[in-house]
């Protein structure tokens, strides 16, 4: 979300001002992460609204003729990889808090791979849907969901990857173990990890909701 935080850029800032700006910066990452969830919620809500609106309207009896369903195996695998990424992000953050930087890195990079697999499968699923996009209300909303899900996975995985890359930059600039230090850059890094993890948790929650709507109901 932000560059490596190197403190106030004002040349003659006092220590108190530096402290104030650091607190504001950390607060911004916290607030920004939660506000981002708010934006994402409204976006998902608009899709859920479309789903239930078209389902209850059932115009021309074409909400879901013959109970067509998107490929369930793909759906479960995509969901599984997304939840795995979220679990790995949570686990990684937990280990980071315990001081186990290597565990965070392994969990994080595994999460990136898992996110990329979910992305690949979601795109691949497009070529395997057993219905024409405009054949029914269900088909339309599923295509809308798939496009949104691609964007969600891309943004989430990008955030995870860039957070890991930032950790690498921290070590390069401040030495081994920099992620755990009290340096402002490290505090900023940890705040970012926290926000990113929180967002992945929410992504998993959204994925669960739409798994039920599109594959199980």
């Amino acid at each position: 979300m932000t560059d490596i935080f190197k403190g106030s850029k004002v040349p003659n800032a006092t220590p108190e001002e530096r402290e104030f700006e650091l607190r504001a910066h950390l607060g911004s990452i916290w607030t920004g992460g939660r506000l981002f969830i708010g934006m994402y919620t409204f976006m998902l809500a608009s899709l859920a609204f479309a789903y239930f609106y078209l389902r209850s309207s059932n115009n021309a009896q074409l909400w879901r003729p013959n109970h067509v369903t998107a490929p369930t195996y793909y759906g479960f695998f995509i969901y599984g990889f997304m939840v795995l990424t979220a679990i790995l992000a949570v686990y990684g953050q937990w280990r980071l808090r315990k001081g186990e930087v290597a565990d965070w890195q392994v969990a994080g990079w595994t999460g990136v791979v898992s996110g990329l697999l979910a992305l690949f499968l979601q795109i691949w699923e497009f070529t395997r849907v057993p219905f024409y996009p405009g054949s029914s209300g269900y088909a339309s909303t599923f295509i809308g969901f798939a496009v949104m899900n691609i964007a969600t996975i891309v943004v989430g995985t990008y955030w995870l990857e860039t957070t890991l890359a930032r950790g690498m930059r921290l070590r390069r600039e401040y030495g081994p173990g920099a992620e755990l230090s009290s340096h402002p850059a490290a505090q900023s890094f940890r705040a970012n990890v926290s926000s990113m993890t929180y967002n992945w948790g929410f992504i998993a929650l959204g994925a669960t909701l739409f798994l039920v709507l599109f594959y199980l109901m």
Partner: protein, 652 residues
């Protein structure tokens, strides 16, 4: 936290580095990214995207031999936006950090050319927005002149019916896009950090991104014209949306792109206000304009994603042949109406709240009285923002809502007039028994109160189902929303510009030309739009290029007034050119004797706004209060000598 303790009193002077004397071709940054590279990259992006779209989809059964490839058009315009962002440098950092690199250093460019670059300085972004929204406004205004020209005569036509509908649609869409950003963009970005005592925005790159995406959205929506336009009006209702040609792509994508900019701007401003308030600036000391920005930013952040989704669904209908809005295939045209207005009605308050904020901020300055019932005004703004999510279905009274639901949404719509009325009464309470200084900004504020009263009262009428059903789709509604948006927001924008431009540019706007501008704009605005109430009640529908011959007199009157209203904007443009370049008059440090924090820092504003982060001691509205505490402790930095007490000792 007390920042004032042990602060050095010697503060480095905030003087801009001297301008480079090297030839312009050798100046740093010349070969870097700027508006020129953005334009070239946008063109290349369009061509590449369009080619790719054709390559991928030319053989699809519904595209082959149809003479229209919406996939190619969509990818072309998407490529244009991406190219634009790449060319200006907005994607440098997101791409660099993907591979673990630091952000590339920004070009160290001084002088006017920095306004043509991707800048993370909130003051530069604010001024970029000023130019951007004025450009938007003038192009939308030209389309309005075309509309009024056509309506001069019911039988002799300048345009065909289709072209007329396209002009009306483009005008409405452009103006709505512009109006969502007209105050948040220029004044919000420039002033919020200054008014809360911050040295920066929370996310400067997101702030810069919001502006350049806004410009990209402008290009996308105007691309509708070469594509043949669209005839849906600014609301883009299906099934007209589905039936329209490639111009509809520009509409849908344009709204989505502008929506991205709106979300980015709102997100950044909300986070900044919550986290970067100076020490001592409790919520009860936050300037009322900042409260309005917070309420607006919250709406922008939360309501716009729904518009974005609605636009995405529309684009999918046009490109990959989904049927979100096609009833015959299991979709529903009402789905668009619901999603659109779930964003669209909060959008009305996205436009209204900043206007209220400016009015409430300026009134104490020109009445020399404290703001009456500050907390009521702030809670009124939050109340409006919250309630605005619960009124959208009144737009569907006539077009598909379950009749049993009408009373509920009639009630919520009437309820929203309560917090709006609070804000209005706060203004009246502040003016009560005041010795008003009739400066230019105050004239515009007074005009806002006059105009918004008419717009607001007619709005209460329109919230009632019987009236709504009767006048729906006519000029009465058209006049109502012009009174609220143009009569409220645009007059507030002008008040804000005349008030804050001296801070932003260091130049005073010419008062005589300004008064000509004000009186022309106020008089001819009312002469243009008030007759439209009557025209509407007499039955003239919107978006139709002909009308009953007995309405020609009123229409001609409105058209001629509209031309003169348009001329008033030329007077404004002339005032800008005259005051800033032809006959510049240096602005005093605090020309209005304001207590606002933004006026207490040095002029021109230093690079980091405040040499010392101020410690706020009270709210900025203690006008004419003997013995009032100083506004803030500036720690010996810029503005240290300016406080409530010192300002009041020398009232204008």
């Amino acid at each position: 936290m007390t920042i004032s303790a042990e602060r050095p009193t010697e503060v480095a002077a905030s003087v801009a580095p001297p301008a480079s004397k090297t030839p312009w071709t050798q100046r740093p940054g010349w070969m870097s990214q700027h508006l020129g590279t953005a334009m070239v990259a946008a063109l290349l992006g369009y061509l590449l995207g369009h080619w790719f779209g054709n390559y991928v989809s030319a053989n699809y059964p519904y595209i082959a031999n149809s003479g229209q490839n919406n996939i190619a058009n969509t990818l072309g315009l998407t490529g244009m936006v991406l190219g634009w962002l790449l060319g200006i440098g907005a994607l440098n950092y997101p791409l660099a950090k993907l591979v673990g690199k630091d952000a590339p250093a920004e070009s160290e460019v001084e002088g006017w050319s920095k306004y043509f670059r991707y800048s993370t300085n909130h003051k530069v972004v604010g001024l970029q927005y000023v130019v951007g929204v004025i450009l938007f406004m003038f192009t939308g205004g030209l389309l309005a002149m075309a509309i009024r020209t056509e309506l001069l005569n019911p039988t002799t036509h300048v345009f065909g019916p289709g072209t007329y509908a396209e002009i009306v649609s483009e005008h409405g869409t452009v103006m709505m896009m512009m109006a969502t950003s007209i105050i948040v963009g220029p004044l919000g970005n420039y002033l919020v950090p200054l008014m809360i005592g911050s040295r920066r925005m929370a996310f400067p790159r997101i702030e810069a991104f919001s502006f350049w995406v806004f410009v990209a959205g402008y290009m996308v929506i105007f691309s509708a014209l070469p594509y043949g336009g669209f005839t849906t009006g600014w609301t883009g209702y299906a099934p007209l949306q589905t039936q329209n040609g490639p111009g509809m792509i520009s509409y849908l994508l344009g709204f989505a792109v502008i929506g991205l900019g709106m979300m980015a701007a709102g997100f950044n401003i909300a986070v900044t206000i919550i986290n970067y308030r100076a020490p001592g600036m409790t919520w009860s000391r936050v300037p009322i304009f900042v409260w309005s920005m917070l309420a607006t930013a919250s709406l922008l952040t939360l309501a716009t994603p729904v518009l974005f989704s609605a636009g995405l669904f529309g684009l999918l209908d046009k490109t990959v042949q989904t049927a979100f809005y096609v009833g015959e295939h299991g979709g529903s045209s009402y789905l668009w109406e619901n999603l659109f207005w779930f964003f669209g009605h909060p959008e009305v308050y996205i436009m209204a709240l900043p206007g209220f904020g400016i009015a409430a901020e300026l009134l104490p300055v020109f009445t020399r009285k404290p703001l009456f019932a500050y907390k009521v005004a702030a809670s009124g703004m939050i109340g409006v923002a919250l309630l605005s999510f619960f009124v959208w279905q009144h737009h569907l009274f006539q077009s598909g809502i379950n009749p049993d639901m009408r009373p509920l949404f009639m009630l919520t719509t009437e309820m929203i007039s309560l917090p709006t009325g609070f804000i209005y009464l706060v203004g009246l309470g502040t003016m009560y028994r005041a010795k008003i200084r009739w400066e230019l900004p105050m004239l515009f504020v007074m005009a806002l109160f006059f105009n918004f009263l008419i717009g607001g009262v007619t709005g209460v009428f329109l919230s009632d189902v019987p009236v709504n059903v009767t006048v729906h789709g006519g000029f009465f509604v058209l006049s109502h929303f012009h009174y609220t948006i143009m009569g409220g927001l645009l007059f507030a924008f002008m008040a804000g510009l005349y008030y804050w431009l001296p801070k932003m540019t260091g130049r005073m706007m010419n008062k005589s030309i300004g008064k000509v501008h004000f009186w022309m704009m106020f008089v001819f605005f009312n002469l243009t739009f008030f007759p439209m109430f009557i025209i509407g009640l007499l039955g003239q529908p919107r978006r139709v290029f002909t009308y009953a011959s007995n309405l020609q007199g009123l229409n001609d009157f409105a058209s001629i007034s509209a031309f003169l209203l348009g001329t008033s904007f030329l007077v404004f443009a002339w005032n800008l050119v005259y005051s800033l370049w032809i006959n510049p008059v240096k602005a005093p440090a605090n020309p209005w004797d304001s207590l606002g924090l933004e006026w207490q820092t040095a002029s021109p504003v230093p690079a980091h706004n405040f040499d010392r982060i101020p410690v706020i001691l009270t709210d900025p509205y203690h006008y004419s209060e003997p013995g009032a505490p100083a506004l803030a402790d500036f720690g010996g930095g810029a503005g240290a000598s300016t406080s409530a007490a010192s300002t009041e000792s020398n009232p204008a």
